[in-house]
Symmetry: C2
Subunit: 201 residues, 2 copies
DNA sequence: CTTTTATGCGAGACAGTCCTCGCATAACCG
DNA sequence: CGGTTATGCGAGGACTGTCTCGCATAAAAG
């Protein structure tokens, strides 16, 4: 048999530990959002969480695990928001869907950069649901199914849609362009593509 | 006055050196294309170029300089292709422009990943033309101007267009989707957006 | 209080990376 | 041929980053 079900030494057992984990996750979110996975350092994350490096490693045994924990938390938030959009009771029009996607992206503004930074970084989710990328493509496929169009192309179009969403996620990095104009163009791109997906064979 | 015009110790003076530089640039292109700027190592680049680490540093004094040299070479290629597209003699239709952009992206398949990897990596071009990002946005703006539409929105739309092109550059990383279907969707996205830019106020 | 468990801490082991330096070799020049 | 210059080389210095380990402290349990 495998290892006995001993209590994991990683999970905090007391409130103090839980608070510390929270601070660490917050700091990690900031740092992973500012730099790439490789450029982010455990030392800086510990410093921003006002904790010692040893305390960080008490709860997160490796950098991978820490990144996965961050990705799981905010990835789940993103997936949940998408599920809500897909299951909305009056069936969606392409226009509504485009606006809904943009709303989700804007609501997650804080965690936007960290999701973006970790999405392509080979960091896998801890639960067995596969990568966040796969989960997102699945949601996009569901969205396309809800809207109609030829089901045979949903997989291809879901990938394209994910890339469009990623591009819009990344848009706010261009400080040169005023935000309202950016948003208008973003929702236009989404709407045009969704309308095309519904209308075309 | 600044430093005397002594011959730079960096540029190769003989054919042997020029060949070596070529091999180094080729290896660097591969490695920077496979990994991010930070994850790529000078040691691996030297190994792939079948050269010693000391020889690498003889021609490229820092990792930054090497990356900038790679980016300059392939960035220039990309910019030149875009100039050709913009200046085409029968004025472009949105449909032609979309197809032209896709053709460029596909023709540069080899250097695609390295441009993508270094574009957002803070690596600046050696010549004073600013970052590759700025240069690309300028080209996109020119393209929109050639096509028509309201000039007041060209800047905003150029940024959006650059992101779309970047997304399509990144598309082939999804091996799950067959290539022809991806290409069809890619050109559709570009065409829809360009037609919108021409038609809308 | 005493015992046990959870948490806090940071010096430092270990590995990897960028880059230097001095010497060896090859190519060109008179 | 000898002299000069360009190029090739890799051990190792200096630094940084991940992660370990043993002990100190705090808190709960008995």
């Amino acid at each position: 048999m495998s290892s006995p079900p001993r209590s994991s030494p990683l999970a905090p057992k007391r409130q103090r530990g839980r608070d510390r984990v929270e601070a660490i996750l917050a700091a990690a979110t900031t740092v992973f959002g500012e730099k790439s996975y490789e450029a982010a350092t455990m030392t800086e994350i510990a410093a921003r969480a006002s904790t010692a490096i040893g305390s960080l490693y008490r709860f997160f045994p490796t950098k991978d695990v820490l990144a996965a924990a961050v990705l799981e938390r905010y990835g789940a938030r993103l997936l949940h928001a998408l599920d809500e959009l897909v299951d909305r009771d009056p069936p969606l029009s392409p226009r509504d869907a485009a606006q809904g996607l943009l709303d989700i992206i804007q609501r997650l503004r804080t965690e936007r950069s960290v999701v973006l930074s970790l999405l392509d970084s080979g960091v896998t989710l801890p639960d067995g649901t596969g990568t966040l990328r796969k989960a997102l493509i699945g949601r996009m496929s569901q969205l396309l199914a809800r809207l109609g169009g030829s089901p045979g192309l949903h997989d291809e179009r879901a990938v394209m849609l994910l890339h469009l969403v990623k591009a819009i996620f990344a848009l706010p990095q261009d400080h040169s362009v005023p935000r309202p104009a950016q948003d208008k163009e973003a929702v236009t791109v989404l709407r045009l593509y969704l309308e095309h997906a519904v209308a075309s064979p």
